[in-house]
């Protein structure tokens, strides 16, 4: 370890000397280092992390663009990435400097006012890499560095000013099926990532790295091993390949120093091949940010057999329910239920859960524990074909919901009227290959009769009452991450008509829309420079949005094709005459 430190120090000196000699360094733009204080309380005009704030609201306090003037919104500039597949990452903005990522792990730094490219990092990926999910969901900023989690399972630190690689750490072995697609989380000198690969017989985990050196600080498995709490929920050696991937950035409560992460389903998919509740699959897990210790958890549904990953991080908010004020966590589950939990330093408690889309698996929920009971005929099993609703992509997949404190509404990008069937078969493990207990190519997704009316929805739920306020339906399915602003607005795309829309945040009325190059599965953001507000989003269809469209085309005999290719769109109001 000492030799490593010496090497780092030597290298830092060399870098410093070269920085003096190289014009590229000398001309690097001024950069406002990202501190813990700034991450906890970001300036209104910035979007410094995945959901802008640690509580995962997806809310911008900017209000120059309002429900009254949004109809005048126009494109300020666009930028083609030159990359196909799903462009899901939010443009991260720090005082006029913007960072986007693309599939195949490119990072592009742009002048957020002019759209000029400042630098581009393109990772050299292995030539034998198979990508089940060719995408990336963004970067973390910390200090004057930028952090990227890659599909060949590395964590890379770049100089945010220049794009130069500072260090890279191999987190796991991609040849064994491990990969990463999420935006890392930065907390107090650590960069935290979660691991994908749940369809490949991995054992999922969350790991923190020292932001300066790249050394591992802690690593917490999401499948407890022998002697660890929760290990008893696994049978024999099932835990060794138990899945439970983690592929969406967590939330964080600085008051308790707990970071809250959603987890994926257990593997293989067929629950009868891994008896038990399978902790910490399909759960929210609270970890001490300093040590990685699991302080508490809540499993939304046990022994998943439906591919209902519950990876979206809970939105942290204070709510009053039944006359009682509580520190809440809200999660629109892939299992089709809207979960309200209560959190404190030591515990997570069930408060309430209601279905927000048609769900025919749960027969009840224990009012104390929140544990659901199942209709046994709706549990996919080995050697049979089983139908269930909602589909394998659930009521809501990864696209994040948003919460607006001004309206008190939670906005959910939902999919209704879709079901699935899975034909289970014995899973045979082969390192680095699919390990599902069902043939991926034979999984079925089909619309119900009601889907002729609509599939996609934008739902609004009143957090004070727990009741649904309104629904905006779409003929298309919906893969649109949600942004909401203090201008009483919601921004979201996600439909196969390539539209990006603005909605009235109070009523859901569509106020503005723009046809884009592709389908919008990117996370929208808002930022400002010199007092002028912008809205930015990537349009670039792919991965599961395209797969679901293929299913619907097959079922309906349609041929809807959404063109691929990523473009960043930045919108503004016209300058006053």
């Amino acid at each position: 370890m000492n030799s490593m430190k010496i090497t780092l120090i030597e290298a830092a000196c060399l870098l410093g000397l070269l920085a003096l000699a190289l014009p590229g360094y000398a001309e690097a733009p001024a950069y406002n280092a990202v501190t813990d204080a700034r991450l906890r309380a970001p300036e209104d005009h910035n979007w410094l992390q995945y959901r802008r704030t640690y509580d995962s609201w997806g809310y911008s306090p900017l209000k120059q663009i309002t429900a009254a003037n949004v109809s005048k919104l126009r494109a300020a500039w666009t930028f083609s990435t030159g990359v196909v597949e799903a462009h899901q990452s939010p443009p991260i903005v720090n005082d006029g400097m913007m960072f986007i990522t693309t599939p195949r792990n490119q990072v592009i730094a742009l002048d957020a006012r002019s759209g000029e490219q400042l630098w581009r990092y393109a990772r050299e990926l292995p030539d034998d890499l198979f990508q089940l999910h060719p995408t990336n969901r963004g970067v973390a900023l910390y200090g004057d560095r930028l952090y990227l989690a890659t599909v060949d399972a590395y964590l890379v630190a770049l100089d945010a000013r220049t794009g130069e690689v500072i260090w890279e750490a191999e987190v796991e072995d991609y040849l064994a099926g491990y990969y990463m697609t999420l935006a890392p989380q930065a907390i107090k000198g650590k960069i935290i990532v979660g691991m994908s690969g749940g369809e490949f017989g991995i054992r999922g985990f969350i790991q923190a790295f020292d932001a300066t050196s790249g050394e591992s600080v802690w690593k917490t498995s999401m499948v407890p091993g022998p002697g660890e709490a929760g290990h008893e929920t696994w049978n024999e050696d099932d835990w060794k390949r138990g899945g439970v991937s983690v592929w969406v950035t967590g939330s964080y409560d600085p008051e308790t120093n707990l970071t809250y992460w959603g987890t994926g389903n257990a593997g293989p998919w067929m629950a009868d091949q891994r008896p038990g509740d399978n902790l910490y699959a399909t759960s929210v897990v609270a970890l001490d940010a300093d040590t990685g210790k699991i302080e508490s958890h809540h499993q939304y549904h046990w022994s998943d057999a439906w591919d209902w990953d519950e990876v979206s991080a809970p939105i942290l908010l204070d709510v009053t329910r039944n006359g009682r004020a509580l520190k809440g966590m809200i999660h629109a589950g892939r299992d089709g239920y809207l979960w309200l939990l209560e959190r404190d330093k030591k515990d997570i408690r069930f408060v309430d859960a209601v279905p927000y889309v048609h769900q025919n698996v749960f027969t009840g929920i224990d009012p104390e524990s929140g544990r659901p009971t199942y209709d046994p005929t709706r549990i996919p099993r080995t050697g049979a074909r089983t139908e269930f609703c909602p589909s394998i992509w659930g009521g809501k997949d990864w696209p994040p919901s948003a919460y607006n404190p001004d309206t008190g509404l939670l906005y959910i990008p939902a999919n209704e009227n879709l079901c699935s069937a899975i034909s289970g078969e014995p899973a045979k493990y082969r390192r680095g290959e699919l390990y599902m207990g069902a043939k991926l190519a034979e999984v079925e997704v089909f619309p119900t009769e009601a889907a002729k009316d609509h599939v996609g929805e934008l739902q609004a739920w009143n957090m004070a009452t727990g009741e649904k306020a309104w629904t905006v339906p779409f003929k298309s399915h919906n893969w649109g991450p949600v942004l909401t602003t203090a201008g009483n607005l919601i921004f979201s795309g996600g439909t196969n008509d390539r539209l990006f829309r603005a909605f009235d945040a109070t009523t859901g009325k569509i106020l503005w829309q723009q046809k884009t190059n592709s389908g919008v599965v990117g996370v929208p953001v808002s930022y400002a420079i010199d007092g002028k507000q912008y809205v930015a989003v990537q349009s670039g269809w792919g991965v599961d949005a395209q797969r679901k469209q293929d299913f619907l085309n097959k079922h309906w005999g349609t041929s809807t094709q959404v063109p691929q290719g990523g473009v960043l769109w930045v919108f503004e109001l016209p300058d006053a005459p």
């Binding site: 370890m1 490593m4 090497t7 780092l8 290298a11 060399l14 870098l15 070269l18 190289l22 292995p126 030539d127 034998d128 890499l129 198979f130 990508q131 089940l132 130069e164 690689v165 500072i166 260090w167 890279e168 750490a169 191999e170 796991e172 072995d173 040849l175 064994a176 054992r203 985990f205 790295f209 050196s213 790249g214 050394e215 591992s216 690593k219 498995s221 091993g225 060794k240 082969r430 390192r431 680095g432 290959e433 699919l434 599902m436 043939k439 991926l440 190519a441 034979e442």
Partner: protein, 194 residues
Amino acid sequence: MSKEPEQPEPSRGRRALLRGAVLLASGLATGPLAAKKTDARKLPAQAGDELCFPSWEHDGRMLLAGEIEIGATPLLVYPRDPATGVVRERSRLNQILVMRFAPEDLTESMRPLSADGVLAYSGLCTHTACGVSEWKSDEKHLLCPCHGSEFDPLQKGKRITGPAPRSLPGLPIASRGEHLVIAGPFTSKVGANA
């Protein structure tokens, strides 16, 4: 973290490498900062390589031609450099599926590729490089579970159905005693086109 047994390699925990392109370009890099040495386990399959199991299956032993049964599920093997004993198992491009047919099932054009009814193909689909890990025993077809492409090993890996744009690359093999060796290059590019 439970890990499969592997051949020795650099510690993962210490692989936080400074890789400043500036340093490398300037020629100042030494030791850990220098370009990584080529990993022989990643090199492509060569004519003359032997076929053996990877280190994480069957203890990495040599494949015996006699253990490949007619019509049975194909076995996954990798090339082994006979001079050094290095198994080229750190590249998925080297995944090889071997299977046996009754000699009378092979057409005249297939025989030069085979050794006593044994055929070998790339284990990676030509669509997105997903592993061709399924075997349809009734049809004797190789199946990629990701997107459903099917290939017929008795027709030089011809695509039967699915989105794969081209045939599965074949690999000529020959007998050497009780073992099998690679007799020539893959018949086409291994993996996806992109």
